[in-house]
Symmetry: C2
Subunit: 565 residues, 2 copies
Amino acid sequence: MACDTVEAVEVTQLDVTLWQQGIRRIREAIGAEHVIDDSEEVAYRSRVIIPSARKPSAFLYPKTVAQIQEIVGIANELKLPLWPVSRGKNWGYGSATPCQDGALVMVLERLDRILEVNTEMAYAVVEPGVTYRQLHQHLLDQNIDLWLDCTDGPADASVTGNALERGIGETPYGDHFENICGLEVVLPNGRLMRTGGGPMEGYQSWNCHKWGVGPYLEGLFSQSNYGIVTKMGVWLMPKPEKFVSCLFELENEEDFPQLIDAMRRLQFNGAIRSKVHLINDFIMFAVVDKYPHHLLQGGKCLSRETQLQLRKEYNISSWTFAAGIYGSRDQVRAGMRLAKQELAPLGRLQFISDGKIKTIQQLTRWLQNLGKRSLGATPAKKIGWQLFKKPLSIMEFLPHVHAIEKGVPSDYFVKHAYYKNRRPKPEGKDIDPARDHCGLIWLGPIIPLNGRQVTEVLDMVRPLYEKYQFEFSTALMVANPRSVIALMSIFFDKQNPEETARAEQLYFEMGRVTQAAGYQQYRTSTAYMDRILEPAPEFRSLASQIKTALDPNNIMAPGKYGVGL
Amino acid sequence: MACDTVEAVEVTQLDVTLWQQGIRRIREAIGAEHVIDDSEEVAYRSRVIIPSARKPSAFLYPKTVAQIQEIVGIANELKLPLWPVSRGKNWGYGSATPCQDGALVMVLERLDRILEVNTEMAYAVVEPGVTYRQLHQHLLDQNIDLWLDCTDGPADASVTGNALERGIGETPYGDHFENICGLEVVLPNGRLMRTGGGPMEGYQSWNCHKWGVGPYLEGLFSQSNYGIVTKMGVWLMPKPEKFVSCLFELENEEDFPQLIDAMRRLQFNGAIRSKVHLINDFIMFAVVDKYPHHLLQGGKCLSRETQLQLRKEYNISSWTFAAGIYGSRDQVRAGMRLAKQELAPLGRLQFISDGKIKTIQQLTRWLQNLGKRSLGATPAKKIGWQLFKKPLSIMEFLPHVHAIEKGVPSDYFVKHAYYKNRRPKPEGKDIDPARDHCGLIWLGPIIPLNGRQVTEVLDMVRPLYEKYQFEFSTALMVANPRSVIALMSIFFDKQNPEETARAEQLYFEMGRVTQAAGYQQYRTSTAYMDRILEPAPEFRSLASQIKTALDPNNIMAPGKYGVGL
């Protein structure tokens, strides 16, 4: 990426003198080392895994609420656009980049204090820089019997950022926006306020009663540009007496609509309250392995025959899901019985206890070591197959799935962003799909949780994957008993411009087609924000009226979710 | 009430010519018979059961969304304040009256269509005039296996009105605002919009996914004055395989904090997901009987000795609650076991099935009839006591409690507003506490659901009841596992001005004291609205900024919840 590009952006979008003045004053306010405007470094920090993104003009790293307020003051005075992010790990949606060129990205990672964990009332109050990994470690270190809910995204993502973007996790607390309670916000005018209609200090129910008194305003700070959240209450789950996970594999692809209807009933009756992710075969391949370029046979994507062959090789089904069942021993037993009734007729259902997972983990590791040290990989794999009837890569996957249903963040799943990347998946925690030129973008229409409509949407987008020659890859994330997000993934080789362009075309066409059919997205990427509210002019007009009133200079994330364009 | 008062108000608050012009034009728009400005009739329709209220200048009854929009247009043009209510049955909080004199009350009772019941996805879409009774009857008539959640307030209250005021019902769906999904709103500028960021028509997930896309704006239309809701999606509960209710009576008053902590654990572990109302002795007396004026012994309120004597006579405890347990047979059994573990050490816990309720009902009726027809009341009561160890009035109460936990609206509980009224409680459905000069006002601070803080608040307000010589009457409504509303009731004789004034003094002092201690109210009366946001100037300022932007003429419920004063 040429450094000049970034400079050019600054000149066209912003008044250079004002921008330079702003950078100088922000340097004075927060310390020069916390302002990055070197164009090469800015370009590096702006890398994304989506096909294309807008270019910020600088990165700012304030440490305190007062510093944020000062930056907001300067931005208002000089009419400079800010783009606040918590950690910037919004991978499949644009990472840390703004939706308009030139914005000053304000990263809140240095506000990283866990301000309170209330063990009795089961909540935490965190700053926006606090990550899943950090909060989880804190609960472990302090021996607190509370579980958080994390996503299967990066462990170093912000708890706050994900909740405000309305991310979906794994456990019964997986509707992240539903489980936040109490926000402190710097408004576009620089003033600090707290939601809930109570006093700033000593408001007894601030983190316990979501709606407060007076208009419920917390929603204003979600998927929006009306303020910068500086503190957030988040509800945590008291550790249940008993936990098992379950793994389900659909036997016949044609029974898919029945599976969806069964899932709705299980969500309604509470047998399964976790935010189940039903993944199709290609998502499973992406999670457990690398893309088999050698099987392309000259085409641009894998053939149907290859797909079916791979299913056999991995011994996986068209659709797989894991779920958690939580409660007292009796409650878990009751949940398991209901799950069996609904699911056993449709496929293979296994319940997995902590003990079973330990055994699987030990055997898998032992076989892998054996393979590396003495036996050789192929014989080890064969023994594994004899034991599990699955490849070792799938067995390796299970403990991560089991753990994440208990709110244990994992770096494992993020690696699936490396699916089409030419380098091997990274080991350990050194995972940075943006740095490593991975290509992945998500489009997540919301669908009522019934077999008919979910099938309708999948049938609508599958031909588009074929048209643009990508493998159809989707994870259905149950959001609540009535709705599911069909998270369409487009994996592409970012170092291949033709493929990247095709991915982008598929993405926009999928968005157009699903929106035209009345399916709106649960969240969108920076690339789609200018179009996301097109079907809702009256809604957008209301949101814009509020925007103008609160942020007359339009300095706060202009254009985010189509507001303040 | 002198008719002149109302006239006087109009003159001082509004420009008479504009007001007359407005009434004339609204008559043309919606039909003369749907505009009530006869001052006597206006005064009659403005009756309240709270100590004092503001006086509207007219009542308007539009039938359609277009008529509402027309009225809003006229109001904007002539700067006339509107006060929209759904049914106006907001009894303990001010009924249909506005919080400022002179407003034109717009009653939406004629928009009373149930637009859709989706049996698969378990929701209904209703207009604001639809009542609990009506929706319940509709589900019965259509043989739909869905249960609604109603409050223990009037069966003829609006489903929409209660949800927007954030009322709390009884079942797991009892957080009414939590269970709404999809609003259509007439904005103060007269334009129609729908929440959720999708198209106006054919938005597939409008009633299934609460947050939609873009900023979540539904909260703006709750406890506020930013618009008039004309359609609302409301989630309904699929009828569970098994249901039992349970009744608990605390043995030792000193164990009250332990009871609260047990309730929190039962809510967390899901054994009890219903919105339990823990009622103290005086609430129970008010529900099952009339105030024993003859026991006053010259004082203004009943003595501690009388209170204890009454507890013995009714054989009731200091605290009682009923709850529902829902699920499969196994799930209900698991819930019952957990409830027993937590509650049996603290008092008497009974589980009540539909069958048991039928028997109780039959026996009670049989004894009552026997008493009336042949045996005489006293011997019948004696037999009842032998059978149940409770007075018949308490046995009569049980079936209503059991039914309401299944979402069956009841007129039974509202009658407790007649507690201090000199006339007998009305029979059947002819219940109108406002018409009948009942006196009752509620103050509902939100408290974290733990024994320590609930005790703190009760200890804070109990001396105020003593100071103002009222019986301490409170129902603790569990809102979620982390919070409870202490609904303080002040029963007073509205026909006694001295007592009414004392009730008002107690009310405001209780509000002051609890707010000063950091306990905000979950909802407030029209009498308190100007003070409710005093502890939250920054919050109020944000709410006011939005108000000014959306409603520059301040025509929409000015002053509601302290906004647009």
